[in-house]
């Protein structure tokens, strides 16, 4: 898949994970692993980018004697998910179109037939003039 597109989709996947509630790095990766092969180093820049873009926010809460960092979905993030799903409808229609067209049996090459017809026509016309 195109790298940029994959990045964009991964971002939405991360946001989707946060839909049911705030989560933290380790758990986000475990959840994402169910749908995509993702490493820790791939997730980090995504989280950072999403935070900078206002799609998620972070906060810290004490857990097991340390302050664990949590990520929470924002309204901006929700809009991003919605936009993705909207876009996807459009893409799906196009995908179906491409798949349908691809499955069709090729027809005889139309252009070639036409041009011989033109020549035949011209010959006929010129013949008539004589």
């Amino acid at each position: 898949m195109d790298v940029q597109r994959k990045k964009g989709i991964l971002e939405v996947c991360v946001l989707a994970v946060l839909k049911k509630g705030p989560s933290y790095g380790y758990l986000i990766i475990r959840e994402l692993e169910r749908c995509v092969d993702i490493s820790e180093s791939t997730l980090y820049p995504i989280l950072k980018r999403l935070e900078q873009g206002g799609s998620l926010e972070t906060y810290r809460m004490e857990y097991n004697g340390r302050m664990r960092k949590y990520y929470r979905l924002t309204q901006g993030g929700q809009r991003k998910i919605d936009a993705f799903l909207d876009e996807w409808d459009e893409l799906r229609t196009m995908y179906q179109f491409v798949a349908e067209q691809n499955a069709r049996e090729p027809e005889p090459e139309a252009g070639v037939v036409e041009s011989t017809e033109i020549f035949a026509n011209r010959d006929r016309l010129e013949g008539e003039e004589e």
């Binding site: 790095g25 820790e40 980090y44 900078q52």
Partner: protein
Amino acid sequence: MKREEYLKKLKYELIDLPAEDLEQIEDYYEELIYDGMEQGYSEEEILARLETPEEVAKKIRAEYGGLVVYTAKSASRENTQEYESSSLIHTVKVETENLRIRVRTVEEGPVRVFFKPKEGRDVVTFEEKDGVFSFLHEMKGSVHLNWLNFLWDDNILVLELPMNYAGTLCLRTTNGTIKAAGLVNLAVGEIRSNNGTIRMENCQAGRLHVTSNNARIELSNVRGAELEASAGNGLVSAKECSFPEKLSLQTQNGAVSGRNVISDHISMQTFNGVVSGTIIGNPADYNINSTTRNGMNNLENVSEPGRTKTLLAKTHNGRIQIEFAM
């Protein structure tokens, strides 16, 4: 390998990132390790499952490109100093005093300046802010200019740009030559030297202004929309250059030459020198305005409303010899 060692290595690999980012990355990995341990894995198991610090650093660095604006950094390397951008740059400004400037391109990478400042002589102000990469160089006090200095390599500054750099490039120097080649995607180029030759080869720029006060300008295979090349005292030459909207070559004392140039609006002017060249195009498309006081002129002046292109050729002392080639 233990947790501390892993984190230390990681930090070492990314040491050039701003402290704040480095802290966040360390924090992120530390938490991943703790969380893994709390799931019942041993420290070794977790670390073995993670990518190596080198791999992590490489990926994070690649991902970072263009995301965050960092403050400028510089690093010493052997006997040269390196100034490097770490975010997406849209404007590169390099202004120097008495330095030669060489622009070279790399396939991909940051904007980089290689220059070795001399203690007590060179003052460098380097900043990267909001996509503007600016490198200003001055020489301290009143510098007695020794022309021999120019044989020394430490009077040279090398600017390295990614080949497809698509922003604005402003280069300025006094008493030094400027050479640039291989920039194929510039939006705007502003190149100026007070007393040095400017040479550009195989470049492309939307708008290009080249100015040299007391030395020649040589352009070869340079393309774009608009070109203004102006030298005070020196030859101005453009070879195999195409600037459809405007191509202007100008000097006071020197020849002006355009070999195989393409443009709808051509202006070639000097006071003392020959104006010559070959224009690729149909002469019937051009309104021609040419004058010389002391010399032959092979052009015939024409002004007809139907002609959409213009050619202006002027000199006071010299001949005009301009051909058209279709």
